[in-house]
Symmetry: C2
Subunit: 186 residues, 2 copies
Amino acid sequence: MSASPPGAREAALPALAEVFREHGYAGASLALLGARAGLGKGSLYHAFPGGKEEMAQAVLDAIGAWFAAEIYAPLRDDPDPRAAIRRMLVETGAYFRSGRRVCLVGALALSDERDRFATRIAGYFAEWRDALADALGRAGRAQAADLAEDAVLAIQGGLVLARALDDADVFARLLDRLERRLCDPP
Amino acid sequence: MSASPPGAREAALPALAEVFREHGYAGASLALLGARAGLGKGSLYHAFPGGKEEMAQAVLDAIGAWFAAEIYAPLRDDPDPRAAIRRMLVETGAYFRSGRRVCLVGALALSDERDRFATRIAGYFAEWRDALADALGRAGRAQAADLAEDAVLAIQGGLVLARALDDADVFARLLDRLERRLCDPP
DNA sequence: GTCTATACAGCGATAGAC
DNA sequence: GTCTATCGCTGTATAGAC
């Protein structure tokens, strides 16, 4: 029981997320997670009784909720689908710090922890792809599903290549190309 | 000194590579590496005095050599550049087991071990991109550099998405789209 | 609730028998 | 050359003081 500051758990999530992004699931030690969140191990386990796995699941939920609200919902609901797609590209560039920040979901998908988080990983990408396909369809594009799959995958590849070459311009150029490919009249 | 079978080191590389692919650098324990290679720790350290890092560097060298011979060289030298690009797509599909196999270089790029292997990681992708741009240029395509960057990054993204959705068809569809985008007349 | 202390397992690496 | 035994360390997780 007990009345910890009601949002102690939520308050820690951004710090935890950043540690997972920077070090991966295996490399994110409880010492690092606690230090960055400003909590001792006791407090961490009080907020997340399931330990590291529960922390990661909560982080993935928070990431999914952010994308759902800021990106997927506009793609589905904005009466101007092209504007929603442009918004998606701008928000994506900002969220990933122009390619300097790793996508935790993509990194987990490649790791051997994939199975543990399979549902959330698959949901994140399926939702993104389907919301984008919806917007492209409403914008009158043919083969909206293929185009959406291609764009979602390119964003992940852009993050890989930008980090591999240590060159954030790679990601910026990709977003430019995507804007033309997705928003220019067919 | 001593005359270990001259290729003991080389013979172990494919097994070591597979363990690194499946478990990542951090997750590839010496126990796993030795078991899969059929060697005890003593033999492993005899072949790779630098330990796990030397094993990974040797694996990356072998991967780079394979791609250089099978993919980059034809892209640069084949008198029919479109045929070389088609060959690249076929070989890539086979190498990554139609998307069921992870790209070790891409996974390392996302991990926090990136810096340790930065030179080989960057070289792998830069060579691929430049060789493909060369072939596209010889095929008479405009904006060959952009097109090449986009294709190399899409392959990495395709591997991420195929694994995230646990759906190898994602990767197969991507290779089909790339063939049209790269080989069809402009 | 938050801390420190600790249990216990697994890691990379090394030493030394054979 | 290859093995087993072991070192020193770090990991997650838990117990218990406060």
